[in-house]
Assembly symmetry: C2
Homo-oligomer: 291 residues x 2
């Protein structure tokens, strides 16, 4: 069984307990591909280096990090240099033979650069941004991941893709996790973030939507703001690519896999209880989790 | 044929022409493992982040970067985040399926941390430094490199090792290259730096020592200052590990492999001409190099 787990890079995500859980799943026989983000550290580093983060707002309201050449270098240092190697070391300390990859490595993630990005300026006018180094993933080197998994390594993936012209590109971590889950044909994608799931009411953390069937996803998109919107789009891509369910939430990975948070499922009439006890991760019930 | 090439991270090293040469060697059928440094970028980044580099001087006169926890993070960002991913992208742009690894990845480089480092203070007193995160390499995961080489990937290695307690450690890039060359049993290790070789007279760049037999190396150590001393120690380790020759110099890789710079050779009575036309890299004569 292979599982793709995304650990967000936002504020308020406690990484060490998640790494404990990942290590225990692997000890229990699961194969895991770990994908991570890095937004918070990138922001902090940008600030410290006197190149503070700027946001681009697309005409449809979606926002993204303005990644000029200098921001790209800062992003690469944060995600591939600090977060990736630290996660690998944390896993190694727990006996997991983790191996970090950026998307540029072995063409793991090939992406198309957005060479002309339409952005709404503060004065309301639309400008075309041509020096942005971010992209959309077009291809995943799944055989590389399988080669490493079969040899006993646990891939840890930083969302830094290779552009079609050999440039490094900033890509969204949730979309990376979704693309990898689809390319590997895994049953479950777990996205750990700093909110408990998709909320019906942003002000009420208990208003988590428990289960969404794939065909209902469009109805729920209006509830999703900011980063959550990208997670749902990632979920949509993963399900379209053959993944059975996408779990989105915060806190414990094992709790998330057993139904906490929001579960988006490919099977139409699945009840909430059914989603929670899904057979997609049979090894889980036998896993003891340190808390 | 496998070749280990180290590209220094010091000032004045023009990386792109070397990457061109590496790509052409690979196109000609060679397998290459590339190791890189990162001292200059680490220094610059430390400065910009308000944590300027400090040097530790051992009682024997050897100097090293004082790598406290913050410096380690900066070092990881520079070598594994920026330099490694940029080198991979440069190679990918030339059609080489490069794959970057830090030493923590898959336990590629296991090192022992120097937990009590004796350092001479400016006032002449010796202090024991206990918060330094640098180490000596103890083990190389050669099967991982072979797995990747056999699958068609070109490993690009950042000198960030995994400590025996799962911590990240700063390790010397020249010693990394030497350890990898020995572990893979390659014939040739090429170390590209910003000086033309070992100089008899530091003030005279034409005073390069052309050939040194392994058993004569001790006699030449007094000529070596600073970083060159570590290169010669690395060469000594590589030759002791079964490598046939170590080439140290600047500029063109192909020129270095055909006898420019200093060649340190395992075979005793080899003449300068013999070293230059060594059969260790048979594919080279057929390689055309863009200049």
């Amino acid at each position: 069984m292979t599982l793709v787990v995304k650990i967000g890079g936002g504020a308020g995500i406690d990484v060490e307990p998640i790494v404990d859980e990942v290590a225990q799943l692997i000890a229990g026989g699961e194969q895991v591909v770990l994908v991570h983000g890095g937004s918070q550290l990138t922001n902090q580093l940008s600030e410290r280096l006197g190149h503070p983060m700027q946001v681009l707002t697309a005409p449809n309201g979606m926002t993204s990090r303005y990644t000029d050449a200098e921001t790209l270098r800062i992003y690469a240092m944060a995600v591939a240099g600090q977060i990736n190697t630290e996660l690998v070391a944390l896993l190694q300390r727990r006996g997991v033979n983790a191996l970090g990859l950026a998307g540029v490595d072995g063409r793991l993630l090939l992406a198309r650069r957005k060479t002309a990005l339409r952005a709404v300026m503060p004065d309301g006018r639309v400008r075309v941004v041509r020096d942005d180094y971010s992209g959309q993933i077009e291809q995943v080197n799944a055989p590389l991941l399988r080669l490493l998994l079969e040899a006993g390594y646990t891939p840890v993936v930083a969302p830094l893709a290779l552009g079609l012209e050999g440039e490094r590109l900033n890509v969204d971590g949730d979309r990376v996790a979704a693309a990898i889950a689809a390319a590997l044909g895994v049953e479950t994608l777990a996205i750990l973030t700093n909110v408990p799931g998709l909320l019906r009411d942003l002000a009420d953390p208990t208003s988590v939507v428990r289960v969404i069937a794939a065909q209902e996803l469009e109805e729920y998109l209006p509830y999703a703001r900011g980063r959550m919107r990208k997670k749902l789009l990632g979920a949509q891509e993963a399900l379209a690519g053959g993944v059975s369910r996408v779990c989105i939430g915060s806190g414990s990975l094992v709790a998330l896999l057993t139904g906490a948070g929001t579960v988006i499922t490919a099977s139409a009439g699945l009840s909430e209880a059914g989603a929670a006890s899904s057979s997609a991760i049979p090894a889980l019930s036998s896993v003891e989790v340190r808390r």
